[in-house]
Every structure is written in structure tokens, then in C-alpha cells.
């Protein structure tokens, strides 16, 4: 399956996330069976803890976000009149990395010792102390997923800013695309932190670093800060696409425009997104933070509810003087709003650090976030599925069945989660309980609700599949929508060069098989426009498989199988990169040309450069998280080796100068090609490459000296300092090395005369990257060598 078409990738995301959703739901039902009666022994603690952990991780990371990404893949380009995403191969890579991460996570159930079992919050030090390779597989899978999401965010952000069709000004962008834009901005800056957190946790598990096992530095607090800095924006990442769908759907079924549309956008852009990065400590009220800090974060937390009041009231107001039609998408939207109101208000209870003493770690919290993440988010997503099903399949779903699905879901949902509000004195994540108070009754009711709610989703599955294969022909614009994904369709225009007609029978499903035969068949079956076969690339799939095998090897290290996996995975990765570069050398992959459209406010910036800037801004958060962790560790560590006692300051200074000089020569290289001088470009590129190599060479010699001078992880005196040094400097070194490898590719292309005065975007973008790597070193160097 080599497609890079946004619709195909969207459907892959959609069906894959449905699969993970089913896995997560089965885990949830297993837990509800176990908890349905007191003193049950259906699941023991060992299995229950895995179920509770993997349910959370799979639902949040491999179901909720990806299913929204799937819909966005399909509809964001259509809504803005783009032919495809800005970087189609990157999009395919995002998908395959997502799947590879998911395969790693789910495979962890089948290794000895089982899967991750420390809760989805992965609290430390429990998570790094849990034995077995299963948790490592899961955490590395999560890193892959986070990388996939970061790349996807870069892609979508560039697309929405740069690829809007003619006439699609920002004020005409539909609400779903707007809210997805907010989502990806949150993703872009939240996910790097979780990459940092899980990389540190994974190196603890694999390489024996001691970030989370050194009690003196209070590693639990370090983890809480890293995790929740990501974790709270993550709530909005899950919620906002659903809100976008609701905001898109409601006006279709009231016949009047959305009320206070601009207020909703302003509230979300200026309050929700920035503030979501400033409330994380409300997850830490009882970790012993000062009362003043508790107060400040409590105020920030209730402040973030105000824009949501505005949004909710605007949704309610949007019904006034309308003609409300109760079609299934509308029912799920309104139902989602009601459940969000309940979940939002219980959230205000939790914003009080005083009441947190009553509710912390109890089923009240479980109820709260399920009202938000299942109630509001999933109901919104389901509304979107019904709403767009006619556009995706060309067929109409069964309305009566859809309404029945809503009624049973809504009732089942409340039977499942409302009793949990009353279980505010029962701890979460306990696998069994004694018959005290009314716990038995409330848990019994919740378990019944769970099966009603889950059963209702069978109706959804049946309705979707039946519509796909047997549904009656749908009119081209069944809802009379003014949005581009429907109107262009209705007028027979093709804003995206792809399948505007219904897929041939079996075509879509056939694509889901990864067998090469099916892939070939689907390439045939998908009615690409002429010349679109160049739009296929196998490299994203190969690269993802390679990385997956490599990480599986790392997680199960040591052992002969692990070694084999590492070697094979590494070779596949090298092969995929090599071939990818060759594809580019020979121009084998062509993207459709984009018509000049609306690009405000970044019209002056070329597409790739915009993508690079966006990517680097995300990298800033990545390094910021690592350096933040370093500063936390330094501040908390009682015996950090003094400056100059470990690292050779003069040598480090020389090396810093070498790297800074290479930044200068890179600049000269860019100047050269701006004047069209290919020879000088090659010369300066070569100089930059040489200086970068010298930098890495000195680095390696330093590491050898340090290693022989007992600055190693296993030396208790230095274990923490060594952990921080090797991982963070190593990460920077990896960036430099990646730059060096890319420079070889650039030099090869230069010597074949590819770059000209007019066409040297790649050189400029690489210059940005190289400058970034230099700047990061300017922070890393003093933190390790001088302070």
C-alpha cells in the first residue's frame, strides 16, 4: 500500500483507529466485568493493571486523536480546496509511523511479563521499575506515535496556511478546519514534551540511565511536570476536532449560521490554546507544591473554562430562530454538547485544590474525563462520521438506525458514567473492592451501562458498513451545505484530483490489506487522474517498518533475537532513506502543482521553508523539554560535579567555535547559490561538512576520554550527571550527524548541477536547520561545561 493520496491515507487512519478503538473497548469491558461485583476474580491485579493502562494509552493515542486525523486527512484539503496535503509522502510516513507504534504497543501484550501496567499516566518511578520488555515496547511505540503526530502537525499547518484554494480566505475556512488548525498547533508544541519524557523513561529502561530512579531528585515530580505539560493540552487535542465537527454540523441542521462564530474562534485561539499550556499543575495539587502555586493554577484552570462557556452558549444560541432538524449528526452534536456541559462542570469542581483532597485519584475523576473525552469527543466524532458518510461513500446511511444508535448510546453512556460521580470515595485503578457503602450497587449499574453503550456501537458499525456496500445513492449535497467539500462535489468539480465518484465495490476495503497484490490492485482500482501513479511511494512504509523492527530490538535487548531485529531494522531504515534520496535525485516522485490560492498571512514564505520553520519551532520545545529536565535535575541534585571537574572546558570551547564557524560557512554557501555560483556553493558546503565532521570527531574523542575516566552510568558518583550528559549531548550529536548525512546528499545534488539561482530551496532550508543545531549547542555547551 504505497498511496500518498490524502483520501486514501485518511481512510487508512480511519479504519486503523477503529481497530484500535475496538481493542481499547474490549479492555474496558474486561475491566467492567471484573468490577461488576465486589471481590471478583475474573481478572487478577497483574492483568487488570495492564488492561487499565493499555485501555487509556490506546484510546487516547491510537484511537481518539488518529480518528480525528483520519477525518481531517480526508476533509481538510477538500474544505480548503487543496489538491492534497502540503507534503504527501510525509503524510504517508505519519500514518505508517502511527501504525508501527501501535503494533509495538499491542505486541507488548504477548511478551513475557506483559504490557505496560503503570497507568496511562506512567507515573515514575513505578513505570521504569516495572520489569519486562513489554512496557519498553509500549513506550517506544508511544515515541513513534508522538513523532508521527509532530510530523503530521507540520504537514497540516503548512497545508492550511499555504494551500488554500483561490477565494478561500481565512474568514471562509469552515469550522472543522479551523478547529483542526487549533488542534495541530497544540499538538505541535505538546507532543515534543512527551517525546522527551518517554525517551528519558525508555533510556532508563534500556540503557540504564538513572533519571527516574534517583530518589534524591524527586523523579516523580520531574515526570509529573513533563507529563502534564503535555497532558493538559492533550485533552484539548482530543476535544477540539470534535468541537469543530459540532460547530460545522449544527448550522447545517438549523438552517441559520453559527452564532458568535468569530467569538468562538477568538476564544479558542487566544485563550484555550495558550492557556492550555499553563494549567498543568492542577494535576499536581497534592504533590506538595506550595499553597500559593495551587491558588495560581486553580485560577488559571477556572479561567480556561470561560472560553468554553462562550463556545457552549454559542452552540445553544445557534438554535434560536432556526429550523432544527433532528438528523443523526445533529443528535450526536447536541448530545455531545450536553455531555460536555456535565463533564465541564465536574472539571470546575476539580479545579479547587481544596476539593481535590476529596476527589483526587477517585472515580469522580474517571467520570469527569470520560464525560469530556468520550461524551463530548466521541459523540462529536460520531456526528462527523454520519455527516460525511455520504461524501465518503456516495451512499446514504439509514437515518432511523442512526437515531436509534444515538438514543441507546446516550442512555447507555449516562448509566455507565454518571454513577462514577457518586463513587468519589473509591480509588481508581483498583482491580477489586470489598462490599462497602454503595460501591457494589454503583459499580454494578456502571457495568450494565458499559455493555449498553458498547452494544450501541455495533449499530454504528453495521450502519457504516451497510451504507458503504448497500446504501441507497446519496444526493451530492444531502445537507445543502455551503462548504467546499460538498459544493465542489455537487457541481462535479474536482478540487482534489482524486475520487469524487463512489469507490468501486470492494475497492476501499481491498486497500486495507497490506499485501502487495492488494496494493497493486488498489492502485488500479483507485481512479487516479492521469499521471497520478507518480504519486505512489513505498518509502514511508519501508522506513516505518525498519524503525519498528529496530525499536522492537531495542526494547527486547539484550539477546540474539534483539540483535537480529536491531540489525535488520537498521538495514531497512538505511535502505529506505537511500532509496528515498535516489527517488528524489531522479525526480521519481512528483507532486501535483498547486494553483496560487489564499496564503495570508504567510504568502511570502515558500512552502518548504514554512514547513521547516514550523518543524524547528516544534524542535525548540523538544530541546526545551530536555534542557528543562536537565535544569530540574541540576537544581534537585545534591552532588553535581562542579564545572571543570569532568569536562575539558578549553577543548569544549574550541569545539563550540568549530560548530559556530560551520554556521558561518553554511551562510556563505547560501550566499553563493543566491548568486548562482555552483562551484562556490560546493566549496562552502564542503567546508561546512568538514567543520561539522571535526566537531563530531572531537565529540567522539571526548566521549572516549570520559568513558575511560569513569564518567559512566554505572559509576554511582556520576551516574546522574553522566545520564544527562550522554543523552542530551547525544541527542544534539544525532542532529548534527543527521545534518552531515543530509549534506552529503546536498553535495551530490550540487555536483550534478541541480541547484540554481532560482531553485535552491533545499539549501536555504538546510541552512535553517544547521543554524538551529548551532543555536541549540550554544545552550547545551554552557549548561554542561561551564555551570
Amino acid at each position: 500500500m504505497y498511496t500518498t493520496n490524502h483520501k486514501d491515507v485518511g481512510l487508512l487512519y480511519f479504519f486503523t483507529s477503529c481497530y484500535f478503538g475496538i481493542v481499547g473497548a474490549v479492555l474496558a469491558l474486561l475491566m467492567r466485568v471484573q468490577l461488576s461485583v465486589p471481590n471478583n476474580n475474573f481478572l487478577n491485579a497483574f492483568y487488570y493493571n495492564q488492561a487499565v493502562t493499555m485501555h487509556g494509552l490506546i484510546m487516547i493515542f491510537w484511537f481518539l486523536s488518529p480518528i480525528a486525523i483520519g477525518l481531517a486527512n480526508y476533509f481538510v484539503p477538500l474544505q480548503i480546496g487543496a489538491k492534497d496535503l502540503a507534503f504527501p509522502r510525509l503524510n504517508a510516513l505519519s500514518y505508517w509511523l502511527y501504525l508501527a507504534g501501535g503494533v509495538l504497543a499491542v505486541s507488548s501484550f504477548f511478551v513475557p511479563g506483559g504490557s505496560a501496567s503503570a497507568g496511562w499516566t506512567t507515573y515514575q518511578p513505578l513505570a521504569v521499575l516495572t520489569a519486562g520488555s513489554g512496557p519498553t515496547l509500549t513506550y517506544l511505540g508511544l515515541v513513534l506515535l508522538a513523532v508521527s503526530i509532530t510530523l503530521g502537525s507540520v504537514n497540516f499547518l503548512t497545508t492550511i496556511i499555504w494551500l488554500r484554494g483561490p477565494g478561500v480566505t481565512l474568514s471562509k475556512v469552515p469550522m472543522f478546519t479551523w478547529f483542526f488548525l487549533f488542534t495541530i498547533i497544540a499538538m505541535l508544541y505538546a507532543f515534543p514534551t512527551i517525546i522527551a519524557a518517554f525517551v528519558l523513561a525508555s533510556t532508563d529502561r534500556i540503557l540504564g540511565t538513572v533519571f527516574f530512579t534517583t530518589q534524591a531528585i524527586q523523579p516523580s515530580i520531574l515526570w509529573d511536570n513533563l507529563f502534564w505539560f503535555f497532558g493538559h493540552p492533550e485533552v484539548y487535542i482530543v476535544l477540539l476536532p470534535a468541537f469543530g465537527i459540532i460547530a460545522n454540523v449544527i448550522p447545517q441542521f438549523t438552517g441559520r449560521p453559527l452564532a458568535a462564530r468569530n467569538a468562538i474562534l477568538v476564544a479558542t485561539a487566544l485563550v484555550v490554546i495558550p492557556l492550555s499550556f499553563g494549567v498543568w499543575m492542577h494535576h499536581m495539587f497534592l504533590t506538595g507544591i506550595p499553597v500559593a502555586l495551587q491558588g495560581a493554577f486553580s485560577i488559571a484552570t477556572i479561567a480556561i473554562s470561560i472560553p468554553f462557556d462562550v463556545i457552549t452558549l454559542a452552540f445553544v444560541e445557534s438554535l434560536i430562530r432556526g429550523r432544527v432538524k433532528f438528523a443523526t449528526p445533529m443528535l450526536f452534536s447536541l448530545g455531545g454538547v450536553v455531555l460536555f456541559i456535565i463533564g465541564g462542570i465536574t472539571g470546575v469542581f476539580l479545579s479547587s485544590p481544596v476539593l481535590d483532597r476529596v476527589f483526587r485519584g477517585s472515580y469522580f475523576v474517571v467520570s469527569h474525563f470520560h464525560y469530556v473525552m468520550v461524551g463530548a469527543a466521541i459523540f462529536g466524532i460520531i456526528a462527523g462520521i454520519y455527516y460525511w458518510l455520504p461524501r465518503m461513500t456516495g451512499h446514504m446511511y439509514n437515518e432511523k438506525l442512526g437515531q436509534l444508535h444515538f438514543v441507546i448510546s446516550f442512555i447507555g453512556f449516562n448509566i455507565l458514567y454518571f454513577p462514577m460521580n457518586l463513587l468519589y470515595d473509591m480509588p481508581r485503578r483498583i482491580f477489586t473492592y470489598q462490599n462497602v457503602g454503595n460501591w457494589a450497587m454503583l459499580n454494578g449499574i456502571a457495568s450494565i451501562g458499559a455493555f449498553i453503550f458498547a452494544g450501541a456501537q455495533i449499530l454504528l458499525a453495521w450502519n457504516v458498513l451497510h451504507t458503504w456496500f448497500r446504501g441507497p445513492q446519496a444526493p451530492p449535497n444531502p445537507w445543502g451545505s455551503p462548504d467546499l467539500e460538498w459544493t465542489s462535489h455537487a457541481e462535479g468539480m474536482s478540487p482534489a484530483a482524486n475520487t469524487s465518484s463512489p469507490a468501486p465495490a470492494g475497492g476501499w476495503i481491498g486497500q486495507l490489506s497490506s499485501a502487495p497484490a492488494a496494493a497493486a490492485a488498489s492502485a488500479e482500482a483507485t481512479p487516479y487522474a492521469a499521471g497520478e501513479h507518480a504519486h505512489l511511494s513505498s518509502r514511508p512504509l519501508q522506513l516505518s517498518v525498519g524503525i519498528m523492527l529496530f525499536l522492537a530490538g531495542a526494547a527486547t535487548w539484550p539477546g540474539i533475537t534483539a540483535l537480529g531485529l536491531l540489525v535488520v531494522g537498521g538495514l531497512v531504515v538505511i535502505y529506505a532513506f537511500w532509496e528515498w534520496a535516489k527517488d528524489d535525485m531522479h525526480g521519481r516522485f512528483t507532486m501535483p502543482d498547486e494553483a496560487e490560492g489564499e496564503r495570508w498571512p504567510f504568502g511570502g514564505v515558500p512552502k518548504l521553508k514554512l514547513g521547516m520553520w514550523v518543524f524547528l519551532s516544534s524542535e525548540v520545545v523538544l530541546f526545551g523539554s530536555f534542557l528543562g529536565a536537565l535544569i530540574f535535575i541540576r537544581a534537585a541534585s545534591p552532588n553535581w560535579p562542579p564545572a571543570g571537574s569532568i569536562h575539558d572546558i578549553p577543548l569544549g570551547t574550541v569545539n563550540t567555535l568549530v560548530l559556530v564557524t560551520s554556521g558561518l560557512t553554511m551562510f556563505l554557501a547560501i550566499q553563493a547559490i543566491r548568486q548562482g555560483d555552483q562551484r562556490r556553493l560546493l566549496g562552502w558546503l564542503g567546508t561546512t561538512f568538514a567543520l561539522g565532521s571535526v566537531f563530531m570527531g572531537i565529540k567522539v574523542s571526548e566521549w572516549i576520554t570520559l568513558g575511560t575516566n569513569h564518567f559512566v552510568l554505572t559509576n554511582p558518583t556520576y551516574s546522574l550527571a553522566a545520564s544527562a550528559y550522554y543523552i542530551i549531548v547525544g541527542l544534539h550529536g544525532a542532529h548534527v550527524t543527521a545534518g552531515l548525512i543530509f549534506m552529503i546528499y546536498l553535495m551530490k545534488k550540487t555536483s550534478s548541477g541541480f541547484y540554481t539561482k532560482e531553485n535552491h530551496e533545499a539549501i536555504e532550508n538546510f541552512g535553517l536547520y544547521w543554524a538551529f543545531v548551532d543555536i541549540v549547542w550554544c545552550f547545551v555547551f554552557p549548561l554542561f561545561y561551564l555551570l
Binding site: N49, G255, I306, R321, G322, V324, F326, I341, R357, P427
Partner: protein, 251 residues
């Protein structure tokens, strides 16, 4: 001298008073907004020809402003009640306890471990770190023992992973974190109190000088396979029994 009102630990009443405020606002807001949704939904349902043509008034800045004002008012009122209760969750240091509360606090050192709790009762102003080396007062194993009517300060830490101690009959909770000491304080007004129904049972001695609340203490943070069974009892004794037990060594 410490002037003004004396500090006091939060009680069940502190929490239920605060919770009532939040319930009043929360349930009120939910009922109002959901009713509005329901009323508009029915009032403006599609009735074919008889429905008036929708009016296209999009920008409801006035409504937005009103929403913000009402939200800010309600949320500030709720937050004010929370801040008012901050006086109760701020714990005086052991040196200032007498000054600030009118009587010295009873300090207890609690070490959480996988899966249980260790209690040490320091004597003569010792710190917890010093006390761990001097096992004191052999109480019933596994029972946290405290005198009634006194301000109790628990100094919580953990020897291994993240735990969280919850005494739900008192509505009290605090995290027990390795490498760190967190404090929780409370008062049990009398030996025999009405315990919340999630205490498995209450066992009192014949003279009612001591009552044990079985499973009153639970762990509220996932800490491994023993998490669900990391339960403990709370024993409340009279001041006289406490003095006899500690031999007058405790403050």
C-alpha cells in the same frame, strides 16, 4: 504572639460546605444551560411550512459578553470559597504549631511502601529522619494511631514508588512521593465518630477509649499489583490513652 484567628485543620464540614457551594453553582448552571438547549430545540424544531424563516443574525457579541460576565461572576464566587478554605490547608511548621493553633501538633512520620504504610511517632522534637532509627511506641501493626481532639500532622514519604494516602472518612488525601516529604493534617473530634460508609467496620474497646476504623486508609495512586489491597486501619484513642501509650514522650 500569633494574632488573629487560630489556624485549624480542615474537617469533613470544611469540605462539605465547599462542596455545597460548588454543587449549587454547578448543578444550577447545568440545569439552566441544558434546559435552554432543550427549550430552544423544541421551540425551534423544524415544522415545515409553519416554521418562520430563519433570521441570519450571526454576531452575538452581546451574548458573548453576557456569558463571560456571568461565568466570571459564578467562577469567582466559587473560587472565593476555595481561597477562603486555604487557611485550613496551610499547615504550620512543627515549631509554629503551638503559636498558630493554640496547642502543639502531634507529628507522625509515615513511610509508604509497596504495599503498605509504616508509622513512626517521633519523641522530643526529633525529625522524621532521626526518628526512623528509633522505633517508637509499638502500636498495633498496620494501624495509624492518633489521639482524638488534637491536630495531627502526617509527614508522608515513600521508600519506593509514588503512592497517595487517602483517609476518606476524613475526606483527606496527600501524595507520598519518594525523595520528598509532604504533609497532611487533620483532627478527629472524638474517639467515636460517624464514619463514612466506605469504612469496612468500626471496632471500639469496651471503655470507648479507642476505636479502630477498619480499611479507613487507602492508596489512591496506582503503585503496582498490590495497589487495591494497600489498605490500613485508623485507630483513634483518647488523650489519656495516648499519654499512657507514649509515656509522655510526645508533645
Amino acid at each position: 504572639m500569633y494574632s488573629g484567628l487560630l489556624a485549624a485543620p480542615p474537617t469533613v464540614a470544611t469540605y462539605s460546605y465547599l462542596l455545597d457551594w460548588y454543587l449549587f453553582f454547578g448543578v444550577g448552571a447545568a440545569v439552566v444551560v441544558i434546559s435552554m438547549l432543550a427549550v430552544f430545540m423544541i421551540r425551534y424544531r423544524d415544522r415545515g411550512e409553519r416554521t418562520p424563516m430563519p433570521k441570519h443574525k450571526t454576531e452575538g457579541w452581546k451574548i458573548v459578553l453576557i456569558t463571560v460576565l456571568i461565568s466570571v461572576t459564578i467562577l469567582s464566587a466559587a473560587e472565593y470559597q476555595t481561597f477562603a478554605a486555604f487557611g485550613n490547608i496551610e499547615i504550620p511548621s512543627s515549631a509554629l504549631c503551638l503559636q498558630q493553633t493554640g496547642s502543639p501538633c502531634v507529628q507522625v512520620c509515615v513511610q509508604a511502601f509497596q504495599w503498605g504504610w509504616n508509622y513512626t511517632y517521633p519523641v522530643n522534637g526529633m525529625t522524621c529522619a532521626e526518628s526512623y532509627n528509633h522505633g517508637l511506641y509499638s502500636g498495633a501493626p498496620g494501624n495509624l494511631t492518633v489521639p482524638a481532639g488534637r491536630d495531627i500532622v502526617l509527614n508522608l514519604t515513600s521508600t519506593d514508588v509514588f503512592h497517595s494516602m487517602g483517609i476518606t472518612m476524613l475526606d483527606e488525601k496527600e501524595d507520598a512521593i519518594p525523595g520528598r516529604v509532604n504533609q497532611m493534617w487533620f483532627e478527629v473530634p472524638s474517639v467515636q465518630v460517624t464514619a463514612s460508609p466506605d469504612v469496612l467496620k468500626v471496632v471500639c474497646n469496651p471503655g470507648l477509649t479507642a476505636c479502630t476504623y477498619v480499611d479507613a486508609i487507602r492508596c489512591f495512586e496506582l503503585c503496582g499489583v498490590g495497589h487495591a489491597t494497600m489498605l490500613a486501619n485508623l485507630t483513634v484513642v483518647t488523650q489519656a490513652s495516648w499519654n499512657a501509650w507514649t509515656g509522655g514522650q510526645s508533645a
